[in-house]
Symmetry: none
Subunit: 155 residues, 2 copies
C-alpha cells in the first residue's frame, strides 16, 4: 500500500515536472510569438496535457488497490526450530528448572541420568519431576511428555 501510494505521488510529481518543463520551454522559444501565432493549438495542447494528467490520476484512482493478493497455501513440514512456549510454561507455574527436567525426561533419560547430566542429585531430580507432574496434572512421565507436547512445552 505504501509502495503504491508513493508511486502515485511520484507520478503526479512527474507530470507536474513535465508541465513545468514545458512551460519553461515555451518561455525559451518565443513564447509570446508562439501563443499569438497559434493560440488555439496552445490551449488545445495545454488542455490535452492537463486532462491526460487528470485521466491518469482518475484512472489510477479507480484502479487503485487492484493489487491482486493470491494467498497460496503451501503445505510445509512444520519444522520450525521450536521455541519453547514460555507462555504455557508460566501459566502452569512451571519453573525453568522443571521445564529443563521435562525436556530430559522426554529424551528418555532416567532420573539418575538426568541428575548426572545436570550435576545434581537424583533426589533433586525426583523433587523437580514430582512438582512438575503436580503442575501438569499427570502421574507418569510418559503422560508428562505427551501433555508437554500438546502444550508446546516440547518439540
Amino acid at each position: 500500500m505504501l509502495t503504491l501510494h508513493s508511486r502515485r505521488v511520484k507520478r503526479i510529481l512527474l507530470y507536474a515536472a513535465i508541465g513545468g518543463v514545458l512551460i519553461a520551454l515555451l518561455r525559451l522559444i518565443e513564447y509570446e510569438h508562439f501563443v499569438h501565432a497559434y493560440p488555439a493549438e496552445m490551449y488545445g495542447g495545454l488542455l490535452a496535457i492537463f486532462f491526460t494528467a487528470v485521466g491518469v490520476y482518475v484512472g489510477l484512482r479507480w484502479m487503485r488497490a487492484k493489487e491482486v493478493v493470491v494467498i497460496r497455501e503451501v503445505r510445509v513440514r512444520d519444522d520450525s526450530p521450536f521455541a519453547a512456549n514460555e507462555t504455557a510454561r508460566k501459566d502452569l507455574g512451571i519453573t525453568p528448572r522443571e521445564h529443563e527436567i521435562l525436556v530430559l525426561i522426554a529424551e528418555g533419560l532416567s532420573n539418575r541420568e538426568i541428575g548426572e547430566r545436570l550435576f545434581v542429585s537424583e533426589n533433586t531430580v525426583k523433587t523437580h519431576s514430582s512438582r512438575l507432574f503436580d503442575k501438569m496434572d499427570v502421574g507418569r512421565r510418559v503422560q508428562a511428555v505427551q501433555k508437554g507436547r500438546e502444550l508446546g512445552l516440547l518439540p
Copy 2:
C-alpha cells in the same frame, strides 16, 4: 490477470460508450447551433474528454503489470492422517499385538491399565512390552515412545 485484463477492456468500452452517448446527445440538442455558438468550449470539452480517456488508458497501461502476486506461504502443521508404518514394524519383527501395546504405552497408560484395556493380565502386557523393548533396542517406555515416533510407528 484475466480479471484485470477484461476489466481494462470493459473500461475502454465504457469510455467509448460514453463518447457515443455524448455525441448522440449533441445530435439531439441542436448540435449545429451549439457548436456555432460555443465553438471553443465545444472543442475544449471534447479535447478534455478525449485526453482524459487517453490519460486513463496510458496511466493504466503504465501501471499495468502491477498485479502484484503476493504468495503468502502459510505454515500448516503437516498432520497427514498417520498410517502406521507397517514396513518398519515388520522390519523390526514387531508383532501386531506388540505394536498395539506400544500405542497404549504412548498414551501414558500403565501396564495394569493396558491389561484392563485389552482384557489380558498385567503379566502379559509386561511380556509384550519386554519383547517390544528388546526389538526396539530401548530400555524405557519413554524411549520406546520416542523411537516409535521416529520410526513412524506412532502418530
